[in-house]
């Protein structure tokens, strides 16, 4: 916040008094129960302070009282929009501790499921972002498509939100017969619809006005604050754990044709199919963060296709879930995976018993949100939802 001694201070002849405004925890645009305390001077926001903890459910403590497989349902409730990816993160961390490698078929199954989860999550992110900017319809379009992914997930595991499907050692069940065809059919239908979303939002001039050059985050700031995922890549940092992560995670994507969605020399990979970057947009602004998400959906579609191809050619087992009360080897493990919202890390310490001695989660949204007060300095009130929305946070993951 600028002080009075700062010579750049704008002095208003009409002095308006500073006002502290609570945006949230009950507010339509705070994605759950985030509370932002805004210090405003008229419409200009000078400071944003996020207050957390309204959704704290002691997930980590619970993790220290349950066996790893029992804890899987709790990971669903962290990032509840991408439960599959949370399951995967936890499962991989445990597997790293156990030095277990899932069979070929299970690996492709995980790619398919987690990339589908990424599509679902980004769809919600896109729709909710439209809602933050005052247009309601994209939200429902996004939910319409997400609904079909949930249908597919329901067929796989019987649940629509809290799946507990991917588990330590593989998955709870194999994909049902005929599922791959349905999935393929869905992807074929989704692709042209994404183009429609680009028309409705990405290239809409009001949308560009509201997002371009708003909340610009330099690559250095993004790295300083430890942001990750589309938020980081939206600032032009070429980093994606699916490529740059630990061996046990990148091995999952072994052999997949995959390019990190990040701007290089003014271009995104394969961006000729998509609307061009508008002139107003600056790298690292809300528009780029949104655009990266939209492109990642397309990339995930591609990855799912590759996964379907490989899965149907693979033979053998999809993996064997670990026993419910299997003893863990002594030691510790930390693994970060590329969840839709960024790097989701799980840390586990075991003293040789079935129940971990310490369980810890590193949430991507938490770090992503921390940059909000930096981005919202001296913006307008209307920009606060635009910026916070572009970070695409999920409070369940932040508070855990």
């Amino acid at each position: 916040m600028s002080t009075v001694d700062d010579p750049r201070t704008i002095e208003f002849d009409v002095r308006t008094d500073e006002m502290l405004v609570n945006m949230g925890p009950q507010h339509p645009s705070t994605h759950g129960v985030l509370r932002l305390v805004l210090r405003t001077d008229g419409e200009v926001v000078s400071e944003v302070t996020p207050h957390l903890g309204y959704l704290h459910r002691c997930a980590e403590k619970i993790g220290e009282n349950l066996t790893p497989r029992q804890f899987i349902p709790y990971t669903d409730r962290m990032d509840y929009l991408a439960g599959m990816n949370m399951n995967l993160g936890w499962a991989l961390a445990i597997e790293k501790l156990m030095k277990y490698e899932p069979p070929e078929k299970g690996r492709h199954l995980r790619v398919i499921i987690s990339e589908m989860g990424r599509i679902a999550s980004h769809l919600v992110g896109m729709g909710a972002y439209g809602l933050d900017l005052g247009t309601f319809s994209p939200f429902l379009y996004a939910f319409r498509e997400r609904e079909r992914i949930l249908d597919l997930f329901e067929e796989v595991c019987g649940a629509r939100l809290t799946y507990s499907y991917i588990t330590v050692g593989g998955a709870t069940a194999d994909l049902p017969p005929g599922w791959l065809e349905k999935c393929e059919a869905f992807l074929t239908q989704l692709e042209p619809i994404i183009v429609e979303y680009h028309t409705l939002l990405t290239t809409n001039s009001i949308f560009i006005k509201r997002t371009a050059a708003i909340g610009v985050m330099s690559a250095a700031t993004a790295i300083d604050y430890g942001t990750s995922g589309p938020v980081l890549r939206g600032s032009g940092v070429d980093h994606d754990l699916r490529r740059d992560g630990e061996e046990i995670y990148t091995a999952m994507y072994d052999g997949y044709a995959f390019e990190v969605i990040v701007e290089k020399n003014g271009h995104y990979p394969k961006d000729h199919q998509y609307p061009a970057v508008p002139q107003e947009a600056i790298l690292g602004d809300c528009w780029h963060r949104f655009y990266v998400r939209m492109l990642e959906v397309m990339q995930s579609i591609d990855l799912v296709r590759q996964g379907i191809d490989r899965y149907s050619r693979a033979s053998g087992s999809y993996g064997e879930p670990m026993k419910l009360n299997q003893k863990l080897p002594k030691g510790e493990a930390y693994l970060e995976t590329e969840a839709p919202r960024g790097q989701m890390g799980f840390y586990i310490v075991s003293n040789g018993e079935a129940i971990p001695w310490r369980a810890r989660a590193r949430s991507s949204s938490f770090c992503n949100l921390s940059v909000a007060s930096e981005l919202c300095r001296d913006c307008l009130i209307a920009d606060v939802p635009a910026i916070v929305g572009s970070l695409d946070i999920v409070m369940g993951e932040i508070d855990r």
Partner: protein, 198 residues
């Protein structure tokens, strides 16, 4: 009993509203309510304008005065509405002096108004069947310097009844100056001299 003359009834209604809310402005201590009563009083005044056959001026009153000036005023009220300024009590002594002076002025003005017999109102028959004439065009022509209402008048009388083109121009320029001036006064300016360091 004669049939009721409706314009008179409406005059009573609008007149009572205008006077009543003017009084309310005076008596209210809360600045926001004062502004609200002022809106109602001026709106009722525009009703009186309509009754007097001056539709254009009445609509003008609604558009500029009620819709523009008073919104501005309320804006000002909201900008300065700290707790201690919303309710500012008038001192009792001020009330007494004000009431005496105001009452004297009011009685003087009213007595003066009714002292001229011609002003007490026309005969009903004289005005009842007057045609409703458009008055926007004559006003517009008058502002441009052409007095449509003086067409039939003798030439020597007409000479004294000039149009309003010049005042119109002056007012236009005046408004422009005021706009710029108000914007200048209320603008956000950067401090020109940086504070001395150290």
């Amino acid at each position: 009993m004669d049939a009721i003359y409706w314009p008179s009834v409406f005059f009573l209604i609008f007149g009572a509203l205008a006077c009543g809310f003017a009084l309310a402005v005076l008596l209210s201590a809360n600045i926001v309510r004062m502004a609200f009563y002022l809106v109602l009083s001026l709106a009722a005044t525009s009703g009186l304008f309509f009754l007097a056959g001056q539709e254009f001026v009445g609509a003008m009153q609604l558009l500029i005065y009620v819709g523009g000036t008073l919104v501005l005023l309320i804006f000002g009220v909201m900008l300065t509405s700290q707790e201690r300024f919303v309710n500012m009590k008038t001192l009792a002594g001020d009330w007494v002096i004000g009431m005496i002076a105001g009452g004297a002025l009011l009685s003087l003005l009213t007595a003066a108004a009714f002292s001229v017999p011609e002003w007490r109102g026309p005969e009903r028959a004289a005005v009842e069947n007057l045609p409703i004439e458009p008055n926007a065009t004559p006003i517009g022509m008058g502002l441009l310097g052409a007095r449509v209402d003086q067409i039939g008048a003798p030439a020597d009388e007409r000479a004294g009844m000039a149009g309003y083109l010049f005042p119109f121009e002056i007012v236009s320029v005046h408004l422009l100056v005021v706009l710029i001036g108000a914007a200048y006064l209320a603008r956000a300016k950067r401090r020109s001299n940086p504070l001395p360091t150290g």
